[in-house]
Symmetry: C2
């Protein structure tokens, strides 16, 4: 009548069938190497860029790879992803969010490895690559053809994720300097979404959301009339963001 996995039944005891030795239970589980892979986006010369490295593996010689590492024992996955970022970019205060797990049994040629993909956004100017080992550098998104492992699939998923996400939350600011012009902000959205937007309507939209702080400074060293510079006022955003109910299937 009872139908329970054998491994669990093995650790049942007299206590109404409850499992007492949880350590033994966990040790009986199959275990899998876990990695984190970071899709690190930057924005430069009006293009979305992604930070890649040459693969370590003979098998993937000359292919590009996301920045990743295995998760240490007792390391939370978010922390592992932050660690990868800090090691490679020297930045600690980076936007980072988990996207999803990739678990095809054959995604790694050396055996089963499950990876958790993270999407990260940072300002290319604000950081120095810690090392350029393995030709770590920035690539235009559309120049990337194939990659090691299933990293192209991961990149595609994370890019789609970003396109959706950037329309719902003010993430884009992480890709820009602290002070930016509205033109830069618009270029960013146009590049990420792959569209062109009306300048007047774009401005109206962002001003109406009322979290751009006019800091009274202007662009410098531009060969034309300099634009005003703004800061993203996070507190104001948090206060004003509206609680939104709107059923809308796209």
């Amino acid at each position: 009548m009872k139908k329970e996995p054998a491994v669990i039944t093995a650790y049942r005891n007299e206590n109404g069938g409850l499992i007492k030795d949880v350590n033994k239970l966990v040790k009986s589980y199959p275990s899998v190497p876990i990695t984190v892979d970071c899709v690190i986006f930057g924005f430069e010369e009006n293009e979305l860029k992604v930070l890649l490295i040459r693969s370590d593996l003979e098998l993937y010689r000359d292919k590009w790879s996301l920045l990743g590492d295995f998760a240490d024992d007792n390391e939370e996955l978010d922390d592992a992803a932050y660690r990868v970022l800090a090691e490679r970019t020297g930045m600690n205060d980076v936007y980072l969010e988990q996207v999803r797990a990739f678990s095809k049994p054959n995604r790694h040629p050396g055996g089963r490895v499950i990876t958790i993909a993270y999407c990260s956004l940072l300002n290319i100017q604000h950081h120095e690559l810690q090392t350029t080992d393995n030709e770590l550098h920035w690539h235009s998104l559309n120049s990337i053809k194939d990659m090691a492992f299933d990293h192209k699939e991961i990149l595609d998923v994370c890019y789609s994720w970003l396109q959706k996400r950037i329309q719902e939350h003010p993430l884009g600011f992480n890709l820009l300097p602290d002070k930016f012009s509205l033109r830069e902000l618009q270029n960013l959205y146009e590049a990420i979404l792959g569209v062109t937007l009306d300048r007047r309507n774009f401005r109206k939209k962002f001003f109406s959301m009322d979290f751009l702080e006019d800091i009274g400074e202007y662009e410098q060293d531009v060969p034309h009339r300099p634009g005003k510079l703004y800061k993203f006022d996070f507190d104001k955003y948090e206060k004003n963001k509206r609680k939104w109910i709107g059923i809308d299937f796209s």
Copy 2:
């Protein structure tokens, strides 16, 4: 100069420092038990319900637990989640989507276990629980106070995920019978979002999206004027869903 994790360096060879023995490499990784946990939602008596089981563990005696299992070797995580669903509910064609990984080092009392949470939606009427072992049954969402492991946190995250998701994609139909009245659909949205909606506007909204198929039947055994029954026309939805650009922070 070069800074590489020691384990990787160990498998480098003469080939320009590239790693040849990928199996050995993967075996050198720390590995972790992986589980999937399913938040299985149903809708009954105008309430959102979730399917839970009593915890197996002495430590969590009398606490409720999500349905989960460890991932088998070479089993993709989605498949593991489907397996859990099929074993418990006997249903194979269930809506299922990965939400995210939970990885706090101490989330499992028996040692490190990483879990990938899945959200599942099914129609309570369409299935029979395969077994009622461990008091498997449906709970009103708001009756759930504390749970085993970090399952309350997982449930909360999945519920928020559902609230957002249901406004962007026509998932709700998975919780209803094939044929449903607009009132049932509205009750569903009201229950999940925790709001009341205007009936006329709700109808207008769904009719304008044009994927409800009027099947010419009516509700039966209701103590009042019966409403029309509709089906969700998935093909029509796929054809008509609009490609949508709309920056809107909430």
